[in-house]
């Protein structure tokens, strides 16, 4: 569905250096990345701000032309065949709406139906389906500017799916949403991928999205692909510290034990980081032997820790 082969994108940035003089510098946003996404996959695209996520998305959808390399989406060259590609993909920008502020959601969707030349009866059944799955019924006739963020995002999702695209590209679809809205959006995306076989590529900062939705994760950092694989493998690849939570009988000075160090204390509770090379059982035994311990718990590295670690070290694939 998506083939990205050795693609780079750099921007010329002009900076004012004198009264009239300006210097031009070439800033690389994406640096020789390659990956493929097969039809029916659900892929998470992850990276810190400015890592090149949006630039990649824009190249895949034909908004930006790559500086070098080859991009194919559904067999088309996005920047040259943008219009033909537009009929086959749906795009959602989480940060800004693609709907029209002053139109009720229903009218926005009708306009979009015309843009994609979806016939009336197909649209009617599709709209009914989307209304049910995304729970749009309550605000279908409300002007978009009056919608809450969660409602608007569901509206944007519906707008991207009016023409039943093969590929759905989502740029931070859960940004700013509350827990309930997030759950609705995630549930909908899961069903869309499983039942209709829609290929989904999603960028996010929300690791919950990745854990609940994506079988495959790609991590981009500083314009380079830092990881491409399953979530479990990512955990295994990146050496993240395990955390030992110790509840002492009373507040005490930081625990001193070989192989681990205290990273945080809160009254009688202390947090110890155990590097991967150290045997956790030895640490636990040492702590329990020397201190008056009420309770003890070991936490495996969370996805957050793994990603933070990955950003810092940049483990190669």
């Amino acid at each position: 569905m998506i083939e990205v082969d050795d693609v780079s994108k750099s921007f010329t940035v002009r900076r004012r250096t004198g009264r009239l003089r300006r210097s031009r510098t070439l800033v690389g946003a994406v640096d020789r990345i390659s990956f493929t996404v097969a039809a029916g996959e659900f892929v998470g695209y992850l990276g810190p701000n400015g890592a090149g996520k949006s630039t990649t998305i824009k190249m895949l959808t034909g908004i930006l032309t790559p500086s070098s390399g080859r991009v194919r989406v559904g067999g088309l060259d996005p920047s040259r065949q943008r219009t033909a590609l537009a009929r086959r993909i749906g795009v959602v920008f989480g940060q800004r709406t693609t709907l029209w502020w002053d139109l009720p959601l229903r009218d926005s969707l009708t306009l979009i139906r015309h843009l994609y030349r979806v016939d009336r009866s197909t649209h009617r059944s599709r709209l009914a389906e989307l209304t049910e799955l995304l729970d749009l019924g309550a605000f279908l006739d409300t002007p978009v500017r009056q919608l809450s963020l969660g409602q608007r995002m569901r509206g944007d999702l519906a707008a991207a799916l009016v023409h039943d695209p093969e590929l759905l590209v989502l740029d931070e679809p859960t940004i700013g949403l509350d827990v309930v809205s997030k759950a609705t959006v995630r549930g909908f995306l899961t069903r869309l991928n499983a039942e209709q076989g829609t290929t989904i590529l999603l960028t996010t900062h929300d690791l919950g999205d990745i854990e609940r939705l994506c079988r495959r994760v790609m991590v981009i950092d500083h314009g380079r692909l830092a990881y491409d694989g399953s979530l479990q493998d990512l955990r295994a690849t990146v050496d993240a510290d395990r955390i030992l939570i110790v509840d002492l009988a009373r507040a005490a000075a930081p625990i001193e034990v070989d192989g681990a160090r205290v990273v945080r204390t809160d009254g009688p509770r202390q947090w110890l980081a155990i590097p991967p090379a150290v045997n956790a059982a030895t640490v636990v035994a040492a702590v329990a032997g020397r201190y008056d311990v009420e309770d003890i718990a070991l936490r495996e590295p969370g996805i957050e820790d793994v990603i933070t670690r990955l950003y810092r070290t940049g483990v190669p694939i």
């Binding site: 994108k9 921007f11 010329t12 946003a29 630039t55 824009k58 959808t61 034909g62 908004i63 930006l64 032309t65 500086s67 920047s79 943008r82 219009t83 033909a84 537009a86 009929r87 993909i89 795009v91 920008f93 940060q95 800004r96 709406t97 693609t98 029209w100 002053d102 139109l103 009720p104 009218d107 009708t110 306009l111 979009i112 015309h114 843009l115 994609y116």
Partner: protein, 268 residues
């Protein structure tokens, strides 16, 4: 290709109109306000004629004829492409990206945006002035003169439309360039309401060769009203409006494409 674009334009404009029709009272008020504001320009001309019988050598019906032809051309172009000036806003707010991932030209999407009958507010008073001026003109109506009136209005619409797209593309380079765009669009609409001879020969030259607004109505009107050309240009110029319009359209299309391509290789 062209037929498909026209069809899409009609469909999109119609959808916007239906949406606007849900607030009929506000729509009527907007049309009336717009018409009133447009009529103020005419009031200015009428006041001038209280003090002088001729303006730049032209009588009141003749100036009304110039005002009417320019006004109708301007209003129709405004109806068709007036919102093209919003390009800069779309670039600044990043919404151009959303337009680019849809299978219809972004220009078509921007031009039909907010399409509403209120845009007709300008057309009614200017059209009325044109119709009123025709029987009052002291003109020997030969077939070429009769034919030239609708042709000059059509040519004017075409020239204004091309100029507007051209001046909107300026905003690809300068995102806050709406003021500059408006000085061409509204400024042009204002200038062509008057006999261009009143602005002096240098201005007339500039309006012929640099910003060719003289071809909106001035050049063909010289023939209709049987006036000598102050610049002494050949007769061919009276009929050159479609040619000028075609050249401007070509430039506008080129500028639009270049702007869009540069946008797509620089990003936001």
């Amino acid at each position: 290709m062209v037929a498909e674009s026209v069809r899409m334009y009609v469909v999109l404009a119609g959808t916007w109109m239906r949406a606007a029709a849900q607030y009929p009272a506000s729509m009527v008020m907007l049309v009336v306000t717009q018409a009133a504001v447009t009529s103020l320009d005419l009031a200015a001309i009428l006041i001038i004629f209280v003090h002088t019988p001729r303006l730049g050598g032209f009588s009141l019906p003749e100036v009304m004829f110039l005002y009417g032809t320019a006004g109708v051309s301007f209003s129709v172009a405004d109806i068709l492409l007036g919102t093209a000036e919003r390009l800069g806003e779309h670039i600044r707010q990043g919404t151009l990206d959303a337009l680019l991932v849809r299978p219809v030209s972004p220009l078509l999407q921007i031009a039909t945006e907010d399409f509403s009958p209120r845009r007709i507010g300008k057309l009614v008073p200017t059209g009325a002035v044109l119709v009123l001026s025709l029987p009052r003109l002291d003109v020997h109506w030969t077939p070429d003169r009769i034919a030239l009136v609708p042709l000059m209005v059509a040519g004017g619409i075409w020239i204004f439309s091309a100029l507007w797209v051209l001046s909107a593309t300026w905003q690809f380079a300068v995102v806050d360039g709406k003021q500059a765009t408006n000085s061409v669009t509204y400024g042009g609409g204002y200038l062509t309401q008057y006999p261009l001879s009143i602005f002096g020969r240098d201005a007339l030259r500039a309006l012929t060769w640099v910003l060719p607004l003289a071809f909106v109505n001035w050049e063909p009107a010289l023939r209709v009203l049987d006036r000598p050309d102050p610049l002494g240009l050949p007769v061919f110029f009276h009929f050159a409006s479609p040619l000028v319009a075609a050249v401007l359209s070509l430039l506008a299309a080129l500028a639009w494409r270049t702007g869009l391509r540069r946008y797509r290789s620089t990003g936001s």
